[in-house]
């Protein structure tokens, strides 16, 4: 008699079916990448199987295509599975063999001959040949790729034999860039459009073909990339000691930290000072510091056509601002000491960083004096202005996603208020921030912005190109610095015939920027690393930290402390899962049954 209106029960059953279907679909919908062709089998689950998971937050894997990726995380992942011709060793600033086992460089006729390692083989069994190198360099030079800058000096690439290539070039710096051009397998890439190819085959039969020590076996968008030991890896001396590396993305610092605590993650770089305390006195974890690739700066709008406050065109004003900022205080307050001050526009670890430069001295009275001299001697409501009424009041743009940057900006504002410069901090997403800075008519629209650069090309002063003329329209320069002397120095730099000459030119350029102050470099935060002591042999001297680093060296060295220990985070998930399922079922059944029974 109750059957007519029992639709709730039916609804429940239907929904349960729908949900199950969704989950099934969901598992199919994930991009599960399995090594293809049955050639490269990932290491099967066996005893001694060790997985090292490293967490990452802030930026994500965008695409695994090495030509179009802009994400640092991606290039790091790719460095583990694709080899460049040579590697750059940041410790002693030299280049080391990679895919090429030997090479000869002739600076007089600007050619170099690389001999590929004859053992080199792709993970699907195909041999690596010079055709792969030629193909890669030709793609890399196309203007949509983001590594075209690294191949700008390369004029021609020719295959001399199956394992020999000749590269024609300009300048001395290009060989350093060779470390950032990952050679891709021609037999895979010839079938795809390299502009939109995600880097792995995404059509059902998914696989990644690489020649590095690891190779990608599973990739879930916005979650993780799983790399397993490449059985075809051809350098026996560099055999990894772990079977699997996982790069996991986290939405926030908090979830990454909790994953580290629960054992789901074994290593994190760039954690915040606030979290050190939890790990410092814990024997299960090791905390270290590494120099950073990142530095924070203030960019002043000195674009002659810019629409920002024109008082910033006055060098004295910029210098006064530089003297009024207590960099040490900034580093101590915002980064709790885990940051260093710097004076140039390169990361201090960069080979070309000019260590002769010292940060502007903190001298408030000097700053005030300079402003007085510059004519800004009238103070209205705490803001200086000159006789024409031009006020030293600026809007400071800062990316809202970066809490430290926002904090830094607020401290800058309070620092500068002491010399009568008024700063209004405006935190925006990087998108709208960029929209304000690079206004559509090719000029700069902000007053000052506080942002960061990742100086990921440690072998060359690449970042100096930001200050070339005409970089505003490309959306690169946020200062609008224009100087013809500087431009000609850059040309000289590219064509320098010896490394020493290049170093000398780059020092001149850095000096010029230091004096002209389009940028005021603030601090370079130190990378704080934590890892589980279940693993050893982790080298923390890499700039950016071992888990924020640049090449495969970290993971081929990582080694379990105790071969028999299983990583933390035991799989008790079945238990919880069953508990949750029971809970849900009981809830639904109760809901259906209780209807109409209680009062």
């Amino acid at each position: 008699m109750m059957k007519n209106h029992r639709y709730s029960t039916r609804l429940a059953i239907v929904s349960a079916i729908v949900i199950s279907a969704l989950i099934l679909l969901g598992s199919g919908g994930q991009a599960i990448v399995q090594s293809g062709g049955g050639v490269a089998q990932p290491a099967a689950a066996s005893s001694g199987n060790q997985t090292f998971t490293t967490g990452w937050f802030g930026t994500y894997i965008d695409t695994l295509n090495p030509f179009t990726s802009y994400s640092q995380l991606t290039s790091w992942i790719n460095s583990n599975q694709l080899l460049p011709l040579v590697n750059f060793d940041p410790a002693n600033h030299t280049i080391q063999p990679a895919l090429a086992s030997s090479w000869t460089i002739n600076y007089s006729n600007h050619t170099a001959i690389f001999n590929l390692n004859p053992n080199a083989v792709w993970s699907d069994g195909v041999n690596v040949t010079s055709q792969d190198v030629v193909y890669t360099y030709n793609i890399a030079k196309r203007n949509y790729t983001f590594i075209s800058e690294y191949t700008a000096a390369v004029t021609n690439v020719t295959a001399l034999g199956p394992h020999q290539v000749m590269i024609a070039f300009n300048g001395v710096l290009w060989e350093m860039f060779a470390a950032y051009v990952y050679i891709v397998p021609y037999h895979i890439w010839k079938n795809v459009d390299p502009a939109t190819y995600p880097g792995y085959n995404s059509n059902g039969t998914t696989y990644f073909v690489g020649d590095g020590p690891f190779v990608l076996t599973k990739y879930v968008v916005n979650q993780y990339a799983k790399l397993e030991k490449n059985p075809k890896w051809f350098i026996p001396s560099q055999q990894p000691k772990i079977s699997t590396v996982i790069f996991q993305e986290f939405g926030s610092q908090s979830s990454a930290i909790s994953a580290l605590q629960s054992g789901a993650v074994q290593g994190l770089s760039r954690i915040l000072p606030a979290n050190i305390g939890q790990f410092q006195n814990n024997s299960n974890y090791k905390v270290t510091q590494s120099p950073s690739l990142e530095y924070m700066y203030l960019a002043f709008n000195v674009d002659p056509n810019g629409t920002g406050n024109p008082t910033l065109h006055n060098l004295t004003v910029r210098q006064a601002i530089a003297h009024a900022l207590n960099m040490t205080y900034l580093a101590d307050t915002v980064y709790h000491g885990y940051a260093n001050t710097l004076a140039s526009v390169l990361a201090p670890t960069n080979q070309y960083y000019d260590h002769n430069l010292q940060p502007y001295s903190y001298n408030v009275s000097l700053a005030k004096q300079m402003l007085d001299q510059a004519g800004f001697n009238k103070t209205v409501n705490g803001v200086r202005e000159n006789s024409t009424g031009a006020k030293l009041a600026y809007t400071l743009l800062v990316p809202s996603g970066d809490t430290e940057a926002v904090n830094l900006a607020q401290l800058v504002a309070s620092n500068l208020s002491s010399i009568g410069v008024k700063i209004t901090v405006q935190a925006e997403t990087t998108g709208s921030m960029a929209a304000t800075i690079w206004s559509s008519n090719g000029t700069l629209g902000q007053d000052i912005d506080l942002w960061d650069w990742f100086d990921n090309v440690q072998a060359a002063p690449q970042l100096l190109s930001v200050f070339l003329s005409g970089q505003v329209v490309t959306g690169t320069s946020d200062s609008g610095f224009t100087n013809s002397t500087y431009d000609s120095l850059w040309t000289q730099l590219l064509n320098a015939s010896t490394p020493a000459e290049a170093k000398n030119i780059s020092n001149q350029m850095q000096q010029m920027l230091y004096n002209q102050l389009p940028y005021l470099s603030l601090v370079a935060p130190t990378s704080i690393n934590v890892w589980s002591t279940a693993y050893t042999n982790i080298n923390s001297s890499f700039p950016g930290g071992p888990f924020g680093g640049m090449d495969y060296l970290t993971f081929i060295q990582v080694e379990p402390a105790n071969a028999n220990s299983t990583p933390a985070g035991s799989n008790n998930y079945v238990l919880y899962g069953i508990g949750a399922a029971i809970l849900i079922i009981v809830g639904v059944v109760a809901a259906v049954r209780v209807r109409g029974r209680d009062k």
Binding site: N65, Y70, A259, S465, A580, R595
Partner: protein, 324 residues
Amino acid sequence: MSGFQKYISKRIIFAAISIFIIFTFDFFLFRLMPGNPIQILYRSPALSPSQIASLEQQFGLNLPMWQQYLLFIKNTFSGNFGISIYYHQSVSSVLFPALLNSLILLIPATIIAIFLGIITGKIAAWRRGTTLDGAITGGSMALYSIPTFWLGGMFILLAIYTRSLPVSGMYTTGASFPSFAAQLADLLNHMILPLTTLTLVLFGQFTIIMRNSLIDVLEEDYINFAKSKGASDNYLLARHAVPNAELPMISVIAVNLGLSVGGAILTEVVFSWPGIGFLIFNAVNARDYPVLQAAFVIVAVVIVLANIVADILYSYLDPRIRYQ
């Protein structure tokens, strides 16, 4: 045409209009905003103007507005949302798995919340005016007031302290599952905290809806008439009051789906649940126009379609519409 068909076709026409408005709105919203995505995203030191032009062409940003619009409509209908600026692959290949993941979280949460809401709402309505009713309504309003992201944070804190449940992601990282059951178990394990958060937030809302709906129904003459037949309270509720109160609830819930999705997005962000909300959150930061644009359209269209389903369900369950 029967009244039922007429009703449904009318709803479908309305939905079609809504979807069209959504499309148009979506397109212009993204085109009229200041800034150039290429400049914003590819802040590379060596990008020449020709490179920028090439990128613009690649993403169709250099066409005249009306052409872009026609292209957009055409592409949207064919499920082609273009190439993600950030992920460098087709938007749909990023979007649809995310949508699926969102539904895996949202649908169970909504259903559990509805069931619980019906129970508590019923109790409150039946005992209206009593302390119990006060406690239930007060509690529901309180649940409704809790900031989702904060509640999620509290659960994370709890999980960190007890080191029990995973607080982020959907599956154990890198795990390969021997069976569907194992996969399901892992999924449920990861789902507990976000599901609880979302369910609690929705639960309060549904309790209040059910209570008010039921109170309205309890005032109706047919309730008194059924009482005059000698019906017991339980019978009255189960047979007369609840079915009549559930009907309006269907449409209220459908209409509030937008709100539920809001809760789901915050939950996803807090727990790094790889759903569409998390995707949107990331796309906002990366200024990935195509993904944002498509995500907005997809979410809105899903909600419109859910509303249609609710309408059909409603009209099917309500004989006043079914046999008109």
